[in-house]
Symmetry: C2
Subunit: 495 residues, 2 copies
């Protein structure tokens, strides 16, 4: 990617002005989806609507064409039918537009005629160094520019994770989940048909993007395999790249061929490439989210030894099993650590790892137990099970108590709920503080569906609390973080 | 288990009267947790509170002892300290109490003295054929008797799935999840230390329990392995048994030993036993729930061939991969099926399996596409991706549109939401109807966190809609159902 295109990509994700060709108030049309999202998302630059058939759209006076806008336009979204696109793109080129997001479908994914049309469009853009995303893309999100321009109106918070997806639908849904789970996003791009710019170009861009520290890729196929490998290997040493490759089985490959037209390659080759480059290759979309949360909010583990603190014995057993299965070690506790932890627990505690809190009612015990383990140089990470999520159980108990005793003072029950709420808030703050103090990750497990989602930020702190719903999700995230550290450590040493 | 104990177990789960020894209004104590739960849960039989230090608890006049209750008492809960238990149990025996749930901990899990105490208690119960659950149990739930008697105050709906757990905490959390996901429960038992009755006894009971059709077990260790195997193998032919065994790795075994004192056995042996008996042996607790939903709400698949209908191409690819990986086949569509499905879709659709709905706006298309696949004798099940869950996306779009156009008529936006809501409701009803018509399972995937949970019942119907959040969860449930059908088919033929 040449430097002019690179700079134009920069303008794409941080435009001073933008125009939507096909902007519309007709509910559910692409021109409406994109335009209403941009307006509602609070984009701070100038916004133009282009629609020759309307006077104004949502209070924005329309122009007939980009040619009619006298000020410079950095970025243009196009959502009009395929056959109108080449001349519109030519007009953009004439007006020195820097970047185009081509939402319109009906190009190479539909056959020969569409392929030709797509080649024309790509040719015009290439000649003018226009940064072209698409066609057939579901849009982009750039939270740092308050630019939300996708069909799905999620509003992820600003953060460190960039999502690049060859499937718009899957990418949008990932962003939707990321938003629900409080995962901070630096950029989202649905690359669509990649007529001009593809995943490798975006990797080059993200390598230099100051907001991005972790990169998530959903791929179905990669052109220029060698260039992808070299770029990914280089970028991955600085910013972890986590990849899901659709089409790793015969059935998946057939589905991918009819979806993005990608012919993929044999999965073993792709996996070998990832291994060589040190990329993390995951199996299902939700892993992308779990790893996003872990990599972006926690310190990296320096090894694979795990301390477990649990509110219930059974969960400790299940988590130990998952850890072992994934190559993580649950070291036995030496006498001095048993003694140190034991100072905070009833005498009949488990005296081992996992540390079973055996329903202790001392509210300081869970934090103290976690800290004793973190302090010890025998563990590289702690998994804490079932402290966060208890509020849910307290709420149920309060409901029952009110039913059993209609005369009970509401003030008392409010105080109980308030105590549980505060306890959770303070526990999250303690975990974040401990992570800063000891530079070791703590992965929480809620064991309940909480409304707060996975990530719990703490004002002014470098790390955030991360609370997965299940042990397997926490263990998987930790195992992958360990894997990344090892591979990249090895690659760094050997380079 | 002799017949008297069996009948007493029956009384345990459907008592005419019960007493709580240690009933208390002291918030958070076990005697309060259990007693308030029983009262609030609406148990219809007589309830007695036993507490010599109180006049009444939550408006229930207390007795000093079971001896002071003149009417018969079927079931007694005990939540007083361990040392008080043997004489209390003796009093129960004298009063011909049929069953005891012994919540109290501090028995065999704490050492030699506790073991002795536990032997005493078990001895008294055995002599009188009292059905004893525990000690060290977190309680029981019998929804058909409106009897909710656990520390966690979940209120699962009546249903077909029995949960038996050697870990109370894990079991309670499973029930909590089951409640959130609308999974119907026939019984829950935390077996605790299993001083007298254990998992095998409960299997014998559940074999005859008319409400139970599916059995979920969380085990850490089984005494009398041969008896367990024989019983489980027999019961499993009638009622699928799904097992999670804690302690399948070295770390897990060590954790289990300190938790339930179980010495477990080598995992390979347990897995071989399960295979021989045809039980489904799963890896993580959430699988128990996913399989509960699938087995209890859907017709069983007759084979492993899957049709996929998807709102987005990428998700179709990912789901195909997961299917293939799990031994499910995605058959190509013959011309007549392509033609039949194509009648409902735009001309540029994928013309293959997965059927990509390519964002068609015809609201009848998704149901029609599912039906064309179900009708065809080339598939045994359909997975439908992303119809349910769209409401969530519509809500976001409506929010944006309102922001972009503050003058828009609220009535219009309400109508949009109403349409999306109705659409989901009707879609669920259609899926259930199609399952009844074709006797093939349809597994939905929401691709979004919906507030309704996994199971969506339809009034008066045998099956329910089942909508998992992710493809991997749906595929896993289906793969396990196929596995069960095969194993049990084979076992039935060869027996």
């Amino acid at each position: 990617m040449n430097r002019d295109v690179f700079n134009n990509l920069k303008a794409l994700f941080n435009p001073k002005s933008l125009a939507v060709i096909g902007a519309s108030a007709s509910f559910g049309k692409w021109g409406q989806l994109i335009f209403s999202n941009i307006l509602a998302g609070g984009f701070a630059g100038r916004v133009y609507a282009i629609n020759p058939a309307q006077e104004s759209v949502y209070g924005v006076k329309t122009s007939k064409s980009v040619k009619d806008i006298s000020d410079p336009v950095d970025l243009v979204f196009i959502a009009t039918p395929a056959e109108t696109v080449p001349s519109l793109v030519q007009e953009c080129a004439d007006r020195r537009v820097k970047a185009i997001v081509l939402i319109t479908s009906g190009f190479s994914e539909t056959g020969e005629k569409g392929k030709e049309l797509e080649r024309d469009v790509a040719g015009i853009c290439a000649k003018s160094d226009i940064a072209l995303i698409g066609p057939n893309t579901m849009g982009i999100i750039a939270p740092y520019a308050s630019l939300f321009a996708t069909g799905t109106h999620s509003r992820p918070i600003k953060g460190k994770v960039a999502f690049v997806s060859q499937s718009g639908n899957l990418g949008n849904q990932l962003i939707h989940w990321a938003t629900k789970h409080g995962i901070g996003v630096s950029l989202f791009v649905g690359t669509g048909n990649e007529a001009l710019l593809g995943c490798t170009d975006l990797l080059e861009y993200l390598e230099e993007d100051i907001n991005t520290e972790i990169i998530i890729l959903y791929l179905e196929g990669v052109d220029e395999g060698r260039r992808f490998l070299d770029t990914a290997a280089r970028v991955n040493l600085k910013k972890p790249i986590i990849v899901l490759k659709g089409g790793r089985t015969d059935a998946g490959r057939i589905a991918a061929a009819s979806h993005t037209g990608s012919m993929g390659g044999r999965d073993e080759i792709f996996r070998a490439v990832c291994r060589q480059a040190g990329l993390l290759n995951v199996w299902v979309p939700t892993e992308l989210l779990d790893l996003s949360a872990g990599f972006s909010c926690l310190p990296m583990p320096r090894g694979n030894r795990v301390g477990i603190v649990t509110l219930g014995g059974g969960w400790g057993v299940v988590t130990s099993d998952e850890c072992n299965q994934r190559g993580l070690v649950i070291p036995p506790l030496p006498d001095e650590i048993i003694e140190a932890v034991g100072r905070h627990l009833p005498p009949f505690w488990s005296k081992g790892n996992p540390v079973d809190l055996v329903g202790t009612t001392d509210p300081r015990a869970p934090v103290a137990a976690v800290e004793e383990l973190l302090k010890w140089d025998g563990v590289d990470a702690v998994i804490g099970l079932g402290i966060i999520g208890r509020l849910e159980v307290v709420r149920l108990l309060v409901d029952s108590t009110r039913k059993a005793d209609p005369d009970i003072r509401e003030e008392f029950l409010d105080r109980v709920i308030g105590f549980a709420q505060n306890y959770e808030t303070e526990y999250v703050a303690s975990m974040v503080e401990l992570m800063e103090r000891y530079e070791k990750p703590i992965l929480g497990v809620t064991l309940a569906q909480t409304s707060e989602g996975t990530v719990r930020p703490v004002e002014g702190r470098r790390y955030s609390g991360v609370f997965y719903q299940t042990p397997e999700n926490a263990v998987n995230a930790l195992a992958r973080m360990v894997q990344y550290q090892r591979r990249v450590g090895y690659l760094r040493r050997s380079s």
